[in-house]
Symmetry: C2
Subunit: 392 residues, 2 copies
């Protein structure tokens, strides 16, 4: 297992990105009639639903702009990102500038702006695209959206929040976690002092507030004062979230030259992974309960593509930062599971949803939540990180 050839592995990730994943979305998802992307694609890549989800529209814009900025100045990639951005700009926001959750194929609003992650992914998309084009219009959309997110952060669901105030006030991990990443994505548009403050705040949330020292795990929800809430939400562990957040933290550590922070994030990646790994059937569970009580999530034991891809990124980055062999051992283990279960050798791209035993649960390549994002982003990061390791 330790004889892994990191050179040929880097190639494997690059080839998968450039000859399987990206061509799939280039060929199958572009909506030439109405703009934007069709992301509900069945196993063969045929469109089975035409609704457009802001998360996925924005993430695909980000992905192609990112490839253009970081990999190669292919005009096609910029054109694809631009098509998505124009659709988003035209139809994606309500009168207050908040991003809807979903639109019809033509761009009519379907679901209101109850979900602040639509705004997060939109900000990411326009920030990345503004880097590619320098267009002032794109950077203002990113900036305004980012300001809106920070303004709404105290009550992200706004009027759609069904919790009665004053009874049980929990705060969720998702937003602080994503702000770690989004702050770095916005860096070129914000002033240094502000970025510094944001980074300190997000790092503290992710590494302290939601961290449970006793178990070494990250909680999805905690009481307002940071204490444990012995409730369905308070007991919830989402290993994929915790693991993904650790590479966001490693990126912050790299930026700020904080080696201790990188080492701590690598350690926590492994702690969460040990807890979240399914010893019986392999793979990483979707949800767990910290007290091992029955969960409300019926999908708790399923194996999801993004969880495994994010784990690969955190482990390879953890290995780069620390040289720790345990990171490499776990990387190999997750790599073996991922590559033997998710890719579809027949029709390309990867399956997204497997049952506990690793059998395909839904044969889709794209849907309401799976699009052109985690897999290509993850393949890119693993490839590039392996390259850096190999250069050492």
């Amino acid at each position: 297992m330790m004889k892994i050839n990191l050179d040929s592995l880097a190639e494997k990730y690059r080839d998968e990105l450039l000859t399987n994943i990206i061509p799939f979305w280039e060929n199958k998802s572009i909506d030439r009639d109405h703009g934007g992307f069709l992301t509900c694609l069945d196993r063969e890549g045929n469109v089975y639903d035409t609704d457009k989800f802001i998360w996925l529209q924005a993430r695909q814009v980000w992905m192609f702009a990112f490839l253009y900025n970081n990999l190669e100045k292919r005009e096609k990639w910029l054109e694809i990102a631009g098509r998505g951005a124009h659709f988003l700009e035209k139809y994606g926001r309500d009168e207050k500038g908040n991003w809807y959750f979903s639109l019809t194929r033509e761009g009519k609003p379907l679901t209101a702006a109850y979900n602040i992650f639509s705004d997060c992914f939109a900000a990411m998309a326009f920030a990345q695209l503004s880097k590619a084009t320098g267009e002032k219009n794109f950077s203002s959309i990113a900036e305004n959206t980012f300001r809106n997110i920070l303004r709404r952060a105290g009550n992200p669901k706004g009027i759609y929040n069904k919790n009665i105030s004053g009874t049980r006030s929990l705060k969720g991990f998702s937003l602080p976690m994503i702000l770690c990443n989004l702050t770095l994505e916005m860096e070129h548009l914000a002033d240094t002092e502000f970025v510094g403050e944001m980074i300190t705040r997000c790092k503290d949330d992710v590494m302290e507030v939601f961290y449970d020292e006793a178990s070494g795990l990250i909680r999805e929800n905690v009481n307002d004062d940071g204490s444990f809430s012995d409730t369905f939400d308070g007991r919830l562990i989402n290993p994929g979230h915790g693991i993904e957040a650790m590479w966001f933290i490693m990126d912050i550590a790299e930026k700020t030259g904080d080696n201790a922070l990188a080492r701590e994030a690598a350690k926590r990646t492994i702690d969460i992974l040990k807890y979240g790994w399914d010893e019986k059937d392999g793979g990483i569970f979707y949800f767990l309960d910290i007290k091992n009580s029955p969960l409300q999530q019926l999908e708790w034991d399923q194996k999801l593509w993004w969880v495994h891809v994010e784990a690969l990124v955190s482990l390879v980055k953890g290995y780069k930062h620390t040289g720790n062999q345990e990171c490499l051992r776990w990387f190999t283990k997750v790599h073996d599971y991922t590559w033997s279960h998710f890719p579809d050798p027949e029709y390309g791209e990867w399956f997204g949803y497997l049952n506990r035993r690793g059998e395909v649960l839904l044969p889709l390549k794209g849907g309401k939540w799976k699009g052109c994002f985690h897999i290509p982003r993850g393949l890119y990061h693993v490839w590039k990180t392996l390259d850096k390791i190999n250069l050492k």
Copy 2:
């Protein structure tokens, strides 16, 4: 298979009701400190969460009042129903008289009144209890709640409705379906003409509006004009819902002496069951897509207790009404699956959530959605219907 002994089968359902299920809830779920019921019970019946969900509080009140009214005048049953009702009366409603979704153990409101089914189950509970006690207070709560439901029926989620109006207006099957049953539950409190009108309206919704003649299936959501919506929601089939609705319709048919209606409902029960049955692993799927497209429900292939219990009721009632051997064959098939998979021989009561292969997915006996309702109600109906068949 056809040699089934219906006499001993009636006894089996009765014994399970009276010596397993009801004692379990009598012994494990009563909250002697704060009133109401603790419904989050693990495999052994220990409380693992103390939140109180209005659906489950009300359903348990209904269940014990129903047993008192229909089976035996046990003071203990009336006392249990009364305890739950007093908790609900004291803490369950907001200032507009709408029922919250959940409360803390002490009765503080947690989740706002976004869910009209809380109101439906509360109306059922207080109507059934008013029958037992004759208390005016209980009947007014039932009547006011029922009026509120009808007033809110056009937009059940109220301000929590996230759909942008005017883009895609779907109507859902759940409310008309439940109103079929609730109208009969409210009958003793309403005037005959009103009940007659309600029955006509609900019957038309269930048997015509949501019915897809081509497939013989019932849709979960249709366009406002009743046409098919080729969307995630429009394509959704919930076999358990459709099948359960068919015994509500048979009860209406019995009440109105409409034999043709009962026969049609029995036929449709079998049509839905044929479609919903898992030929590979047995049991009835939770969700399906009418075009066989990938679903958004990750739990689609799971086998749930209530789906199977409701199918048993519809099939045995269908057999009683029609004498159709196909009803009996399907009853036997669902009976065999149900009894060999759901009951827990070790700690009593039944498991609720199985994976596709019929293995226990969550070892709970009660939770956020499973309480003291479908199993005892179903066992009662199957037992009593078998008794009637055996008397013929």
